[in-house]
C-alpha cells in the first residue's frame, strides 16, 4: 500500500509541478469560462445580453386523472359476513361497510398536473391540485390542521413561485407540432410539451393487496414532458430544462407521499370502524354516499387533507425557480459554462496523465520500477490512483476558482455551485472516476502513443460537442451519451438548489467503473514490456 501511495503521490506531485500542464489544466478553462460568461452573462447590472425572457412555447395536452379511478380500495373479499369486525381483517370491514372509491371520492374529482405546470410556466395563477372538495362531503368541515392556514399561504406561495415573468416569455400553444415548428423557426428557444398521460404517469393507480399494503400501478404510456430545444440557445434551454425538472420532481413527490398517506388513512379508517368508533349500525348501506357523510370526520381527516389542494403537507414548492431567479445573471451563466469547460479540460488530464506511462517507458523510469521488488499491479493501481486524484483536484480547484471569478465579477462573495457541498464533492468524484476511466480506456485501447495523441483529443472533442461544451446543444437523447452532459447537468441542478441528481450520479459512476475496469484490463498490457 505504501508503494502504491508513493507512486500515486509522485504522479500528483509531478503533474502539479509542470507549469505547462498548469496552464492547460487551470488557466485555459478559467479564462475561457470567464470570457464566455462575461459575454453571455453580463457584468453586474450592465445591459449585456441576459437570460431573461427566454421565449418558450407551452403545449399542455395532459388529460389529467380522476382521483376516484386512481384509488382502488379492497374489493376481493365479497363473501365475508357477520359482525363483529375483526380489526385485523380490514377487508371484511370495508366490504361490510360498503365503502369504496365512490364513497371516498365523489365522481368528477379531476387532477391535472399539466395544468399546474403550464400555469407556472405561463406565470398564471395556479389552480388547486384537485377540485373535488365540495362534492361528496365538505372537507372544510373536517378538522384538517393544515387546511385553513395552507389555503391562504399555499396560494400565495404558489403564485409567487409560479411567476417566472423575469425569466421566461411563455406562450400557450395548442398543438405540439406547431410548437416544434416554431422552435425550428427560431420563434421560441424551446417548447415544453406536456403529454396526455402526464398526470396519469405521475399519479399511478393505488390499489391495495390482502394486507392492505399499497400497490402502485404505473401506466405503460409515456408521460414524460418533452423540452424541444433550439440548438442555438443551449444555455437558455438548460435553464428551462432545470425549471421544468424542478417542478415535475415536486409533482412526483406528491405521488409518492399520496401513496403513503393513503395507506395510513385506509388503515386508520378501517381500524376506527373495527374498534366501533364509527357506528356502522347507523349507516344506511343502501345509500353509501349519505352514510359517508355521517362518518366521523376524524377518521377521514388524512384523506381529506390529502385531496384538498394546498391543504396538505405535500404542496408544490418552488425553491428551484426562486434560486434561479435570485441568482445573479453572471452566476447563472458561468455555472453551466464553467462546469462544461472544467470537465472538458479534465478529459485531457485524464488521457494524457495516463499516457505518461509511455514517457516513463521511454525514459526507462518504468523499467527501473519494474526491476524493483514492486508488483506490476501496484504500479498500475498507483498510476490510476494518481490520475484519479489529479482529475478530482483539477475539477475541484476549477470550481473554486470559478467561484472566485464570479464573486469578483458580481462584486460580492457568491458561492455559485449551491449550498450542498457534500453533493458537489460527490459529483466531482463521480466525474473524476469517469474522466480518469476514459483516459485509462483510451490509452489501453491505443497501441502507440501516437494513437493516443490522435484518438484522445478526437474522443474528448466529440464528447464536448455532444455534451454541449461548445455553445450549441445536440438533442438531449444524444447529449446523454456524453459524460459532460451528466456532470454539467448535475452541477447546474445543485447550483439551482435541486438535489435530485441520483440519475446523474448513477450514470457517471456506472460509466466510470466500467471504463476503469475495462481500461485497466487493457492498460495492463502496456506495462508488460
Amino acid at each position: 500500500m505504501r508503494k502504491i501511495l508513493a507512486f500515486a503521490s509522485k504522479e500528483i506531485y509531478t503533474t502539479f509541478r509542470d507549469r505547462n500542464l498548469m496552464l492547460l489544466m487551470f488557466a485555459t478553462p478559467l479564462v475561457l469560462s470567464t470570457i464566455i460568461g462575461l459575454a453571455f452573462g453580463g457584468i453586474g447590472d450592465s445591459e449585456l445580453p441576459d437570460f431573461a425572457d427566454i421565449p418558450v412555447a407551452v403545449v399542455n395536452l395532459d388529460e389529467g386523472v380522476d382521483l376516484q379511478e386512481v384509488i382502488i380500495l379492497p374489493d376481493q373479499f365479497a363473501n365475508l359476513d357477520a359482525l363483529p369486525f375483526d380489526p385485523d381483517d380490514l377487508a371484511r370491514v370495508f366490504n361490510q361497510a360498503g365503502i369504496g372509491p365512490d364513497q371516498l371520492v365523489q365522481d368528477g374529482a379531476p387532477l391535472n398536473f399539466g395544468d399546474q405546470l403550464a400555469a407556472i410556466l405561463l406565470s398564471q395563477p395556479v389552480e388547486g391540485a384537485g377540485t373535488t372538495a365540495t362534492q361528496g362531503f365538505d372537507l372544510t368541515e373536517i378538522g384538517c390542521s393544515l387546511l385553513e392556514e395552507s389555503e391562504a399561504a399555499g396560494a400565495a406561495s404558489l403564485a409567487a413561485g409560479g411567476n417566472l415573468d423575469d425569466l421566461l416569455d411563455a406562450t400557450a400553444v395548442d398543438n405540439a407540432d406547431q410548437a416544434r415548428a416554431a422552435v425550428d423557426n427560431g420563434e421560441f428557444a424551446a417548447a415544453v410539451i406536456i403529454p396526455p398521460g402526464f398526470s396519469r404517469r405521475i399519479m399511478p393507480q393505488f390499489a391495495f393487496d390482502e394486507d392492505l399494503r399499497i400497490r402502485t400501478q404505473v401506466p405503460d404510456e409515456d408521460g414524460a414532458v418533452e423540452v424541444y430545444a433550439n440548438n442555438g440557445q443551449p444555455i437558455s434551454v438548460r435553464i428551462l430544462h432545470s425549471v421544468v425538472a424542478g417542478v415535475v420532481n415536486q409533482f412526483v413527490r406528491v405521488s409518492v407521499a399520496l401513496g403513503a398517506t393513503l395507506e395510513t388513512s385506509v388503515n386508520s379508517l378501517a381500524a376506527s370502524i373495527g374498534r366501533g368508533e364509527i357506528n356502522l349500525a347507523a349507516v344506511d348501506l343502501s345509500a353509501p354516499a349519505a352514510a359517508l357523510q355521517d362518518l366521523d370526520a376524524t377518521a377521514l381527516e388524512p384523506l381529506g387533507c390529502l385531496i384538498t389542494p394546498g391543504a396538505n403537507n405535500i404542496t408544490v414548492a418552488h425553491p428551484p425557480l426562486e434560486a434561479i431567479q435570485e441568482a445573479p445573471r453572471f452566476a447563472r451563466t458561468i455555472v453551466p459554462i464553467g462546469a462544461s469547460q472544467a470537465v472538458f479540460f479534465a478529459l485531457f488530464t485524464g488521457v494524457f496523465g495516463i499516457q505518461s506511462l509511455y514517457e516513463e517507458r521511454k525514459y526507462w523510469t518504468l523499467q527501473r520500477l519494474i526491476v524493483s521488488p514492486t508488483p506490476k499491479v501496484f504500479l498500475l493501481i498507483g498510476k490510476l490512483l494518481g490520475n484519479l486524484v489529479t482529475v478530482f483536484l483539477q475539477i475541484l480547484i476549477l470550481l473554486a476558482a470559478l467561484t472566485l471569478v464570479a464573486s469578483v465579477v458580481i462584486g460580492e462573495p457568491t458561492f455559485i455551485w449551491g449550498a450542498n457541498t457534500a453533493a458537489i464533492v460527490v459529483v466531482t468524484l463521480a466525474l473524476a472516476l469517469c474522466v480518469s476511466g476514459l483516459g485509462v480506456f483510451v490509452v489501453g485501447l491505443a497501441k502507440t502513443p501516437e494513437q493516443v495523441n490522435l484518438f484522445g483529443p478526437m474522443i474528448n472533442i466529440t464528447l464536448a460537442v455532444v455534451g454541449g461544451s461548445f455553445g450549441f446543444a445536440l438533442p438531449e437523447q444524444a447529449a446523454r451519451f456524453s459524460l459532460i452532459y451528466w456532470g454539467v447537468d448535475a452541477f447546474t441542478q445543485l447550483a439551482n438548489a435541486q438535489t435530485d441528481i441520483t440519475v446523474n450520479l448513477l450514470a457517471l459512476f456506472a460509466q466510470g467503473i466500467v471504463l476503469f475496469l475495462l481500461g485497466a484490463w487493457l492498460f495492463k498490457r502496456r506495462i508488460d514490456l
Binding site: Y13, R17, L369, V371
Partner: protein, 334 residues
C-alpha cells in the same frame, strides 16, 4: 566462490509484424560468481541488453531461466529482485524532480522509508559526490552528474548484485573515469557482484575479472582476459589502413604463404557512407602475425609492390578486440 547469477538456456524470441520471428538471445548459459565484475562485451545489437533485461526480470524469457542468489527470476521474482540493483543505459530518473526526490522515490519502491531511507539517500549523495546539488532538479544536471545519480539510484537497497548496462555511454572522459572507479570501489570495498555490459573493449579490460563476449545473441567466448587472449595465441595484430585500391584474394593468399610469421589476413574494403554515399571509410587490412614487428617490413614491401597505398600502420598486442576479431571476423566497432 559462491554463484550469484546463473542462467540456463536463456532464450528470447520476438515476433515481427509480418509474422516472422527474430531470436535476440539464443540460449545463453552464464555463471557469475559472488564478488566479481563480469562484463558482457559485444557490439551494439549483440543481445547484451536483452540478456541483462531477462536476468533482471524486466523481460520474460521465451525459454530458460536465471537465478539470482538461488532465487528464480521467473518464479521467485520478488525475492530475486530484492538482491539486485539496476543501472540502465538510459538516465532512468524523473527530470522534474530533484536528485534527492528521485532517490527518495525509488527508495520507497524498494521498501525503504523513514530515517533509514533518509540516511541511505544521504550516504549515496555523498558517495556520488552530489550532496551539494541534492535539491536541484535533474534536468539542470550535466550528463555526467545525471549518470552518477542514475548509478546511486541502483544502489539504494544496498544490493549484493548490481547490473550496469553501458553506464558510461555519452559522457565526458572525466565522468567516465569517475564511474569506472566507482564500479571498482563497489567490488573492492563493498564486495558487490557487478554484471557490466559494454561495447568498449577498454572498459571490459580495465574492470573485468571475467568477460563474456556476445555476438548475434550468443556467448561466443567466456573467461578471464588471459584465457580469452590465449585463444588467439601469441600473435600480434597489424592494423593497416589502405587506399581505395582493391586488395584481391590472390594478394591475401600470397601474404599468408610468403611472409614469415603471418597466419591470417582479413580485408575490409572501403564502405560508402553519408547521405549520397559521397564519403567512404578507409579500407582496412588486419594481419595476424607472430612477431609482427619483424614481419612488418615485408608486409609493406608486398603491398607496395601490388600498388596498394598505405595510409597508416598500427601494431597491437593480443587483446579482447583481437579475440572478437578472431572469432567473428569483424571488429567490435562494426
Amino acid at each position: 566462490m559462491q554463484t550469484m547469477v546463473e542462467t540456463r538456456n536463456l532464450r528470447k524470441t520476438y515476433s515481427r509484424a509480418d509474422g516472422s520471428t527474430i531470436e535476440a538471445v539464443k540460449g545463453v548459459d552464464l555463471e557469475i560468481r559472488q564478488g566479481e565484475i563480469f562484463s558482457l562485451l559485444g557490439p551494439n545489437g549483440a543481445g547484451k541488453t536483452t540478456t541483462i533485461s531477462m536476468i533482471s526480470g524486466l523481460v520474460t524469457p521465451t525459454e530458460g531461466d536465471a537465478t539470482i542468489g538461488g532465487f528464480s527470476i521467473t518464479t521467485q521474482s520478488m525475492e530475486a529482485k530484492r538482491l539486485m540493483g539496476f543501472v540502465p543505459q538510459e538516465i532512468a530518473l524523473y527530470p522534474e524532480l530533484s536528485a534527492r526526490q528521485n532517490l527518495a522515490f525509488f527508495g520507497r519502491m524498494y521498501g525503504l522509508g523513514g530515517k533509514t531511507l533518509s540516511r541511505r539517500v544521504d550516504e549515496l549523495l555523498d558517495f556520488v559526490d552530489l550532496a551539494d546539488r541534492q535539491k536541484d532538479r535533474i534536468d539542470t544536471f550535466s550528463g555526467g552528474m545525471k549518470r552518477r545519480v542514475n548509478l546511486a539510484a541502483g544502489l539504494l537497497n544496498s544490493p549484493p548484485l548490481i547490473y550496469m548496462d553501458e553506464p558510461t555511454v555519452g559522457i565526458d572522459p572525466q565522468s567516465r573515469r569517475r564511474i569506472l572507479d566507482t564500479v571498482k570501489t563497489l567490488r573492492d570495498e563493498q564486495g558487490m557482484t557487478v554484471l557490466y555490459t559494454t561495447h568498449l573493449m577498454e572498459e571490459a579490460e580495465e574492470l573485468s575479472d571475467r568477460v563474456g563476449i556476445m555476438d548475434h545473441g550468443e556467448i561466443i567466448a567466456m573467461g578471464t582476459q588471459d584465457e580469452l587472449t590465449q585463444q588467439v595465441g601469441e600473435e600480434d595484430r597489424l592494423e593497416i589502413t589502405t587506399g581505395a585500391q582493391n586488395v584481391g584474394e590472390a594478394l591475401i593468399e600470397r601474404m599468408q604463404q610468403e611472409i614469415a610469421g603471418v597466419t591470417r589476413v582479413l580485408y575490409n574494403p572501403p564502405e560508402q557512407i553519408g547521405d549520397n554515399g559521397s564519403e567512404s571509410t578507409p579500407a582496412r587490412l588486419t594481419v595476424f602475425a607472430k612477431r609482427g614487428r619483424t614481419a612488418l617490413p615485408q608486409i609493406i614491401q608486398t603491398l607496395d609492390a601490388a600498388g596498394i597505398d598505405i595510409q597508416s600502420v598500427e601494431v597491437l598486442e593480443p587483446d579482447l578486440e583481437a579475440v572478437f576479431l578472431a572469432l567473428t571476423g569483424r571488429a567490435l566497432r562494426d
